[in-house]
Assembly symmetry: C2
Homo-oligomer: 185 residues x 2
């Protein structure tokens, strides 16, 4: 298994369009600084990357570059060099299609309520050779009807409480921790 | 084990003072809206509560009450009733000592670099009867020298990457997910 595991690598995408709003309509969200930081830090911790921030708007890319620049070259670099180290994995894309043109990823979508019955347990993903891209949606989740067909959907995170909707930051952390249990040599 | 598990319950505290700043000095952080929301949502998902926000300043308690009120009684309640459901678990305290006066908790501290060698794996906590309080620090972590002596420290989350510092939101999510693996009947 450790030989197989070494042939699998993992990247993450956070999609801001096309996603669903609370009413189930196609929508766009703004990029947030907290998502960037939590995503790059969690991914750095678990050796996962690149971290693609997917947003169609030029202005959002400019904002992302400014935030990353602060930590890579700006005064944030001196203040917290570790943050700059993490943020190096950040990549910007206009769409998921653009990401797939650049790299031939095996595509895994996430949802609290996946639309399919046959699901992939993320803990088993390291057994599958190749470059895996794990895709998260902002807002009320991925508008998959307007997205490329994935190779599969990951099993949702099942809690034991009444509420069943984690923040995307918490979902990422839990998925990568579960992914890693079998990757530790 | 399931009989024992039913005799254990779990609460969480997020400490804003006394914590360490990047230079290792005793310090205070501001409460952030994102920590409140991520903490109550993750805890609701895993049936963990109350969620204590620990801050010495009256003004911060006023801010917390205003944020919670928006979701409990304000227009946020209509916009997203689930958020109000989660935020009911929020409690405010001036200090951890105040929390312990109110409730006789078994106290567990968290750190990326715990000061002790003997550590508790959170997955084994449900085997210990009682009310457990899992304590997280903001900033660069708990200033434990100025805090009550805990019953123990939890094993830190070990990644496999270069960077070893998760956001407190990600750490909470991972700990509660690991806590829950043995709690599911």
């Amino acid at each position: 298994m450790s030989a197989a595991a070494s042939k699998a690598s993992f990247a993450v995408a956070l999609v801001h369009y096309p996603i669903l709003n609370r009413k189930g309509e196609r929508s766009t969200t703004a990029v947030t600084s907290i998502d960037i930081h939590d995503f790059v830090r969690t991914c750095a911790m678990y050796d996962v990357g690149p971290v693609y921030m997917v947003h169609p708007a030029e202005a959002m890319h400019a904002l992302l570059k400014e935030i990353a620049g602060y930590w890579l070259q700006g005064s944030g670099r001196e203040r917290n060099p570790g943050r700059g180290e993490s943020i190096k994995s950040l990549k910007l894309a206009k769409s998921l299609e653009e990401v797939l043109e650049e790299e031939d990823y095996t595509l895994w979508y996430t949802s609290a309520t996946p639309p399919e019955d046959e699901l992939m347990n993320i803990a088993n993903l390291p057994e599958i050779e190749g470059k895996h891209l794990i895709v998260f949606g902002t807002g009320s989740g991925l508008d998959y009807a307007a997205m490329p067909k994935p190779n599969g959907w990951l099993s949702p995170i099942e809690g034991i409480g009444m509420v069943r909707h984690l923040s995307v930051r918490a979902a990422l952390a839990i998925y990568l921790d579960r992914l890693t249990q079998k990757r530790i040599p």
